[in-house]
Amino acid sequence: MLIAVLSGFALALIAPSLHRLTHKRTGFLVGLLPLGLCVYFVRLASGLDADVAPVRETLAWVPSLGLSLSFTADGLSLLFAALISGIGFLVAIYSGGYLDNHPQLGRWYAYLLMFMASMLGVVLSSNLLAIFVFWELTSISSYLLIGFFHEEEDSRKAALQALLVTGLGGVAMLAGFVLLGRVGGSFEVHELAAGAGLIRGDPLYLPMLLLILAGAFTKSAQFPFHVWLPSAMAAPTPASAYLHSSTMVKAGIFLLARLFPVLGGTPAWTAVVMPVGAITMVFGAYVAMRQNILKKLLAYSTVSALGAMTMLLGMGTDGAVKAAVAFLFAHALYKAALFLAAGIIDHETGERDVRRLGGLARALPITAAGAAAAGLSMAGIPLLFGFVAKEIFYEAALHGPDGWAAALTTAAVVSSMFFVAAAACVAYRPFFGAATETPKRPHEAPASMWLGPALLGAGSLAFGVFPGWIGEGLLNHSASAALGKSVDLHLRLWHGFTPVLGLSAVTLLGGVAAYAVRPRFTAALATVHRGCDAIGPQRWYDGALNGMLVVAKLQTKVLQNGYLRHYLAVILITLVGLSGSVLLTHVKEIRKHVIDSLVIAWETVEFYELGLAVILIIAIAAAVHSRTRLAAIAALGVVGYGVALVFVLFGAPDLAMTQIVIETLTVILFVLVFYHLPPFAIYANRISRARDLLLATSVGVVMGVLTLVATATQAYPTISSYYGEMSYDLAHGRNVVNVILVDFRALDTMGEITVLTVAGVGAFALLKLRLGARSRGDEEGSS
């Protein structure tokens, strides 16, 4: 399984080069991998047995963090893996036709394969941290796929929005995972499921649940995080069909199902997940019905379907989880087909608005057949798998949690009516009725493109007529894995005359009515809809994004204002505040110490030392205060030589010599450079000078006191004695300072020499650089 996941990443790396070699055939070549994977997963699935523990593979990745690449092949992961690889195969081939002649098609395949591999990683991993890593990889590849038409601003914005919303959710989810791992003592899902009772009783249960749900809800576009999904329709249609209908958006559903044995079924779970799902379901279906752009319509209906699955998982009864799994499979089949068909319509006619489409069935017979099957499945018409799934969905809603059954059933029926209307808009309206004028003359798409809708439509029909094929097998195992116990899922085409069948009939009639009144209804409520959009979640997102930019600009302006003195002021105030406050807490000792040193100084300081100090202070003051450049240089020289004298007096002849040489050079340099500079000008006003003086004085006082404290205390034993003892024996030198520099710490001296060299080269380069001459030359050249 490790190879199954990683092969996608490997092929993604070479896909662009492969495309350069094979051109038109790349789609089929690249599609071979997902096809092979799909066969592999289906074979694994056919070997599933309720009595045998699922296959596990573990490879330690970062053991110290509890992160391992462990994969589990149970019903749930295999259902997803088969869908991901199967639809991945169709989409890979489809994109060859859809993005025919696009210059960056090779890159497209790389993104697509990267996404597929990440998604397989999410569904096959049983380690929470690994799930997170792959989860984020799907967000990143989704970003790349949505923004594939990166020349268009809408695409870039939509890509960023998807990344930000799902990325933020992902971070929350990671926090939840870490909490879960701490409480449960493991990051392996099956180990956590064994200790589920303890986890559910933990006081941290609610925070971790909410954090993880934030991840699942953002990924699966639950209200109010759904906004990114309709925007993501800016992506090329194959990406929309693959990521934003059948696979990635279901990652959140997958996570809910995967963690259901660990976190699910509690009152808190039901209280959060079920209403969020129900609201999303009704809201999405309603908004979908009034869309006219094909892809937007499909996007909102996807939001609604995701809401339905979330609601079912939130209910948490056995029947509801079974229904969620069946509904998921049905939705993946028909929604991918409809998206691919919508892409074909767009590709062949250049038109996306359903109001301007009609009668395409004659020109696009195969596409029309596939879309019709998928549309009928979406509407829940008998003989198609959508009908079977809807029946079991209604069944679950009718047997929902106490007191909720009526409300949930109503919500399910109402949104299913909207679904019927939406399905008619997308699968009936463009293909039948009177033909219309379109920007391009329509003719049937190449086989690479109609293959997807045709196969998926046939799938909806085949599984609809014989629901037992998959119901008794993979779907059953999936529901068992999600529930954490063995259950029996019986899918049948005909249940007899039951209340559920009545509800289906009502749905169909209501849906047809909704389709009929749709145009008038939408027109009548246009103002209301605009008003709702103006205060909707998209506005919240825009506001948050703009707010962040404003804050970023503001803090850059405040913190990085470009004035050296402001930076200095911040650093120094921090220094004075922190050091000063520490010093203040020891004010008594310090005062005593100062008085002691005063006494010692009175007794021991030689008069020439005092004289030197006075001269230094005067010179410092002169350097600050002097009005002419020459006086300043002279004062600076006096300070330098004075410091050299201090070195002489206190046993540092080497320092004194160096200081004198360097000081001389410095003074010469200063004179040379200052000769060319204008006289000192005073730029600052009196107030700012007083303010700077106050700050500088306080820093001076703090540093002075620190010096005094530093001379009086010794926190650690000195290491100097080592050099004193070893200098002659090891390095054969009697001048210890010298030996330290050239022997013990020779590398430091090497660094010092490097600094000198760099400064020298820099100075030379600066002197040789003639900016003005060049720019003047350019101006002459251009004029």
Binding site: S597, D692, T707, E752, G772
Partner: protein
């Protein structure tokens, strides 16, 4: 003498920082030089002050006589003196060239890299 040295260090720091906060670019350099003097003296003082006992091993001895000045801070300061000279020299050339190109010594006038 520690007290006297502490006063000098404090004075050097105060003067250095005051000058570094001026708008005049030349004063900035003078301030930097004073500040490095202050830092050197601070390191020097922290090693403990001993009058006139250089860290030299006597001709007939193998180890440094006890009571000698601490060699380690001296080695550090020696490096620091040379490096601060390098920095000062580079800064001076930079100021010289800046003045040639921008014709100002006011830091506030040097707000952009493009003219």
């Amino acid at each position: 003498m520690e007290l006297v040295l502490a006063v000098i260090v404090g004075g050097l720091y105060a003067a250095g920082i005051y000058l570094m906060m001026r708008r005049n670019i030349v004063k900035l350099i003078i301030g930097l030089v004073l500040l490095s003097h202050g830092a050197n003296l601070l390191i020097f003082a922290s090693g403990g002050l001993t009058r006139a006992q250089s860290p030299l091993i006597a001709k007939d001895g193998h180890v440094l006589a006890p009571g000698s000045a601490d060699p380690l801070p001296q080695a550090l300061i020696l490096t620091a003196i040379v490096i601060s000279f390098a920095v000062t020299a580079f800064m001076l050339v930079l100021v010289h060239r800046t003045h040639q190109e921008a014709a100002t010594d006011d830091l506030d006038a040097l707000t952009t890299t493009d003219r």
